[in-house]
Amino acid sequence: MSETTPTTTTTQVPPPLWLLAEITYKCPLHCVFCYNPLNYAADRTELTTEEWKDVLRQARALGAAQLGFSGGEPLVRDDLEELIGEAHQLGFYTNLITSGIGLTEERISRMKELGLDHIQLSFQDSSKEMNDFLPSTKTFDLKNRVAKLIKKYDYPMVLNVVLHRYNLDHVGRIIEMAVEMGVEYLELANTQYYGWGMVNREQLMPTREQLERAEAVVNEYRAKLGNSIKLLFVVPDYFEERPKACMNGWGSVFLAVAADGSALPCHAAKSLPGLKFPNVTETTLKDIWYNSDAFNRYRGYGWMKEPCRTCPDKEKDFGGCRCQAYALTGDAENADPVCSKSVQHGDIKKIVLQAQAPRTEEKPLIYRNDANSMRYAAIPIKEERDKVT
């Protein structure tokens, strides 16, 4: 049977198309659903301007066309404009993924001159009280001013709002806010449970009823608003029966470079044990993309176990997410337990069911900040996982 023969990396590897440049992990916000590594504060190393420019040149030469500047908060670096200019010259489509904190009129107009194509601005909620609660900072008014600036300088704008138990019921008001701002896309992204989102999972997990109500509201607005604004509703995968096609396959289109220069096939990949991620200061991007163990480890289908190995959907969903498989089953080569074919699927169902139970006492949220991060840096990851699950 052909299914029993591993077909893997001998087939030609396509070039990377997406480069995510996480230029710093510094951030003025403290969001409880952030996907950044828990121990980000333990290593403050950041690539220099010249090193980043070199990464941009190499990635573009390999074939990457989409570029996201992210972090942390990318505006914290004052060479961001210089990097945008370089990226534009190279022919990238440049996206700035930001909280808006630090985006002055002077900077935004300079970025326009230098060729920045698009700004994705995040909001936490539709009201000042809720927006300022979960990231634990007072930013609502400031973000509103930034949204006006983005429109004034005629950027296409994606408004991103991460959804969870505390704001899913406000989704109608969030859509109204986006319409008023004149955004082109509203990304309603349900929390993905990685990094800080994972340690706060119990608190952030919505009920199924909340989700269904929110989705119905989104659909009503879609019918009403038509093509004037695109509403993207990213369903939380814990509530699904089939896994997401994470990263469109490991090492297939996506390349992230973290603040310290480590190259990652997925921005959460540092949570996986036993993988050594090559650093762009030591190895060329070409060598990293095509030859490194980290990028080849889960390419193709040869690494798969059952039920993925013989699953007819393996070319569609690639067995789901490696980081999630590891976090929830302890083995990154297992099927993502979101899949109903996974023997651990019951664990996910249990987590979803727990969210339904009435809450007598709220567990405190753990904010993404340096003090908490240093605390996590001192604990081995596995131990922490056992504590939270």
């Binding site: 070039p15 066309a65 989409q66 194509d117 698009h118």
Partner: protein
Amino acid sequence: MSELTAKPKLARLFRMQWEEAQGAYVLLYPEGMVKLNQSAGEILKRCNGERDVQAIIDDIEQTFNATGLEKDVTGFLEIATERGWIV
């Protein structure tokens, strides 16, 4: 079916460029990319807001030394309009 604009042009959200690594024209937009096949690329390239639909058809037929491409071209322009690529 969408009404075709008299002189279609690329919508402001999209940027089109040739990508050597993919051997294709692509449409780039916020956090996304569409790889175009050869005919889609050739047609969209001609949507510059100055040519009308007939001129696009004529130009395509001349370039490919063919006739009877009207349906293919307008069919694609309709899809491109529906997807918001051209206005």
